[in-house]
Chain length 426, copies 2
């Protein structure tokens, strides 16, 4: 499937959504009633697109349309409509690999429009975390999601030929990758006009980051890994704002991963790092909110461990049972009774992904504190001095994770440092 | 430029070459006389293609045409004609990056045919090395060639967008990559029917290699690096048989690098390792030929150092003067007077390439001893026992380079071990 041309593209508006959607197969049956009776709400709280929730007497759905520019900034920052093509391609692959994505009902390529399941009454996990709600299986589910998507799109599962065709296809999603390259790995480390932080209390810290040669060199090494390692199809933006959570009445949870328009072939650790980094940001932000934070912080630390454990555990299962690709061929290991060697290779493989994850997590944390587009976790802290203190603690850990990740050697040790930093202020 | 379709492709024969070539612009002027008077020789001694040397009264040229199968094996092993497209694309880029490639006169894409400069009286470097001839600048020139081609096709020189388009283009050269994946990284490590070694004297050693779990796991790690790291456009087959050497009467040397049909985006260390590994194979083979080997072996050790030094030295120059790409942006380093950090980053970068090179060199050596397609350096040793002894010494070093490359830590230490292994037999 090739990227569509967009010559007939027309952005929808609140008035035109129902009429357009009614032309797609199955939509009228799903919503019931006449299109004129449907209610349409625009709910896009992301930075890039328009998202409409359309409700009829029998049901609802979600329609996401890309704009030819960045919504947050406006027409002065153009962004190609092709990102909708890549988002759809990623959703199809993630659905096949793991299933925890919204169901797609219709895809109108030339209109850069995806019509999908309306996740309701789900909430964005980031908001739930800020509210100290506990969704106990979310971290585990996301860990399994990442492991399955990574493994099944990698050379461990695919032939080199198939994987290279996938790389070539996703190589077109350069504009979205470029956003990450700039906002995560570059702009925060020098005096870039788009950087922003939440108060002058942090000015000195920002200067210290930007004047730290080791930090910059280590982040550039991570950027090079981001630019060059085509290990698996990544979600590309796997933070807590890309995860929808809901607790059913029977106590079970429904966890869905959304918004993969940043998908591309990259290093597995980047997705893992995005989630770890955003959970750590929430951890440090908790001290800025009223009430005792420590119980929730303990829970958060446990969730980070759960995520990593679920990732490693599911990845290991797939390594042992679905290793049909051209890398680490079974013909050299299991088929020759060298299962031990295969297990050693697996351990080394996961350790490398873990080290990458720590580095990327640190880079993500830093970016959310001093670059463009902060996170509500920290922005929501009312008192500037308190907020800056939380941010400085997060940055202290971020630096260790970026610069000393190999010496740290494990997520466990990293979390011990996080606990120590939290305790030092109590 | 896209891969041509080959629906009108016709393989040339000795009889049809002159007539076809006469239709291309400039060929008649270059060769002089009438096409009927031209002499045509088929000289392809590679494993894949037909190569014709066409000579007229005023000059000569070389015409290389791909076949739809592997020449060495026959029609039972199909191989796509598109490799000629990738070879041409690589030659154009290498010419731009460094210039030490044959001049291209005509490219007939649909006929999978490249008409180029006839390098005469150049000889294949491998043959010169077997004959103990000394071309003192070859190693240095090839080091500079590799450094310039790598740097200038990498994220250090190109924008991410440009580089991703290049990755996508070369991702189509899967069939040639697959040959490397199989013959270098996979087949030698289990009982594959295409493996071959030069005498039963080596049977026990081969069994030991194939039964060595650490060796296999380390080689699979290298294969994963080969499959996933799109660092630069590689030559892809940079052994001593892909290098033409000639000493001019005034003592200067003309060194050319040929046959880049294996070109793709991969890890820089793979090209470096190919050259180092093949020079080391010649080093160990020298003990199998009459006359005192040690002087030439000392010269060879020096050439390996020269290659690596030239690579690092030229790469460093380009790092300091041509770093215009999206990786390690100058805006974060030199522009902020953090040249020290840039130098630290360079040192780390080159160290990583060196470690990769050692591993890939070891893999290449092993492959040439126990896999399909050996090298004349070893095959030319008359006595089977002597030959096997040389091969065992080469394999002893190869294992260290693959399994213990991080502990070895440098090329210098590796060459010390090579010297020790050579001395132990004297």
């Amino acid at each position: 499937m090739a990227v569509p041309d967009f010559k007939d593209y027309k952005p929808l508006s609140l008035d035109s959504v129902a009429k357009r959607l009614a032309t797609y197969p199955g939509v009228q049956e799903r919503l019931g009633g006449k299109p004129e009776s449907w209610t349409v709400r625009e709910v896009g709280d992301g930075n890039l697109n328009f998202v409409y929730i359309v409700t009829g007497p029998d049901g609802s759905l979600c329609a996401k349309q890309a704009l030819p520019y960045v919504r947050l900034v406006g027409e002065s920052w153009p962004l190609p409509l092709s990102r909708s093509f890549y988002e759809h391609a990623a959703l199809v692959r993630q659905d096949k690999a793991n299933g925890s994505v919204p169901e797609i009902f219709n895809y109108d390529g030339p209109q850069a429009l995806i019509v999908m399941e309306n996740l309701s009454p789900h909430v964005i996990w980031r908001k739930a975390l800020i509210n100290r709600e506990q969704h106990d299986v979310a971290a585990k589910m996301v860990g399994e999601f990442a492991a399955e998507c990574h493994f099944r799109t990698s050379d461990l599962a695919l032939s080199a030929e198939t994987k290279k065709a996938e790389i070539a296809m996703f190589a077109g999603n350069t504009a979205l990758c470029k956003i990450t390259e700039d906002l995560v790995f570059t702009d925060p480390y020098y005096d870039h006009p788009m950087n922003s932080w939440t108060s002058p209390e942090l000015d000195e810290t920002v200067r210290a980051v930007q004047g730290d040669p080791q930090w910059k060199a280590a982040v550039q090494e991570l950027k090079f890994i981001f630019l060059t390692r085509t290990e698996a199809m990544l979600h590309g933006d796997l933070h807590t704002g890309s995860i929808m959570v809901h607790k059913n009445e029977d106590g079970t949870e429904d966890i869905r991963i959304i918004d993969p328009e940043f998908a591309f072939y990259g290093p597995m650790g980047f997705d893992c790092g995005a989630l770890i980094g955003n959970l750590l940001l929430n951890l440090f932000a908790q001290d800025g909110y009223p009430g005792r934070a420590c119980v929730y912080q303990d829970w958060l630390l446990e969730q980070i461990e759960n995520f990593c454990h679920a990732y490693a555990s599911r990845f290991s299962e797939l390594w042992r049972t679905e290793r049909t690709g051209d890398a680490y061929a079974r013909s050299l290991f299991e088929d020759q009774n060298h299962t031990d060697a295969s297990e050693i290779a697996l351990t080394n493989f996961l350790h490398r992904v873990e080290m990458d994850s720590l580095g990327f997590a640190g880079a993500k944390m830093t970016r959310r504190i001093i670059g463009l587009a902060g996170v509500a976790d920290l922005q929501g802290i009312a008192d500037p001095a308190t907020r800056a203190a939380c941010e400085r603690r997060a940055l202290a850990l971020a630096r260790m994770m970026v610069v000393e990740r190999v010496e740290l050697g494990s997520l466990g040790r990293t979390l011990e440092h996080a606990e120590r930093i939290l305790k030092d202020v109590k």
